[in-house]
Symmetry: C2
Subunit: 179 residues, 2 copies
């Protein structure tokens, strides 16, 4: 192993999104799965060797979230916000940042607006993580025609290695296109 | 993190192959790159948290290698073999096993014959690694038509997460289809 490399943490970008299930305003099943997989299989107890970078891409602007340049790295960062900004996207980041804080893994989290595929590619170029982890519903080819697959696009086009974590069959909701 | 999970090492399968460059009977540039990336970015100094599983698929049988069920886990395992068995595929395993031994990462290495795509898929099903690392020449779409891409096939069809490590542009040999 190269001499000085050990001192710099491995930076893992994790793409996270909200659940599509109505009345369930939390992280999607596949986002949570990808995150927990990363902790269990890569980070393990070596918490100081890694830094997690959570990117959430908000597709619509209906929430009126306008604080797009903030970076959240600790649960305290969420306390100072006013009620108007407590939107779903932010609750999502809070979930992941809180979990990392509990375990002691350094992290940063932020939100960008736009098309998830293009924004993820752009953020990879800008932030230059060591690799990208994305969840996937693990749909068959027939199902994929209707729902699109951000993960496949990232695997093909992102400027860093990408690992896709498929949702476990037992975790799929009633409609497998939901997540 | 889950209670007992820490005690079991994360098992990483690494697909390795020989260089196609004449007079250069060693690991391919992309195999070495994928291996070194795994050490530097995933294993780091946490050597006891991981176990590397090296699979080499031999496409032809011209070498007459018939000891296909052996598993190599330490440099000593290569010493007892007679001269006839000292073929290129085995030198390849010796390279990776020796390197792991130096660093202190537990490993196993073995050879299988057949079509790399099908054999890798079969071995993933049999061995059930936590994830698979494969190197790739990082060729463009026009070049790929002629040389095939084992890595893309694995990403699509393997029964575990797959991470593809592209060869760095500066490491490409004169003919980029070589490796």
């Amino acid at each position: 192993m190269e001499g000085g490399a050990e001192s710099v943490a491995t930076r893992i970008m994790v793409g996270v999104n909200e659940s599509t299930i109505k009345g369930y305003p939390h992280a999607s099943i596949s986002s949570k799965g990808a995150f927990e997989w990363t902790l269990k299989k890569i980070v393990r107890s070596n918490t100081s060797s890694f830094k997690l970078l959570f990117l959430h891409v908000q597709v619509t602007d209906e929430d009126g979230f306008d604080d797009m340049d903030s970076i959240y790295a600790s649960p305290d960062d969420f306390k100072t916000m006013n009620r108007r900004n407590k939107i779903r996207g932010l609750h999502l980041l809070e979930y992941f940042v809180h979990r990392c804080h509990e375990i002691g893994v350094p992290c940063e989290a932020w939100i960008k607006k736009g098309d998830p595929k293009e924004v993820i590619l752009h953020e990879v170029k800008r932030v230059q993580p060591d690799f990208l982890v994305v969840g996937s519903r693990g749909l068959g080819p027939f199902q994929k025609v209707f729902v699109g697959t951000v993960s496949e696009f990232c695997v093909k086009h992102a400027d860093c290695p990408v690992i896709t974590i498929k949702r476990k069959p037992g975790e799929a909701p009633q409609d497998p296109a939901d997540d």
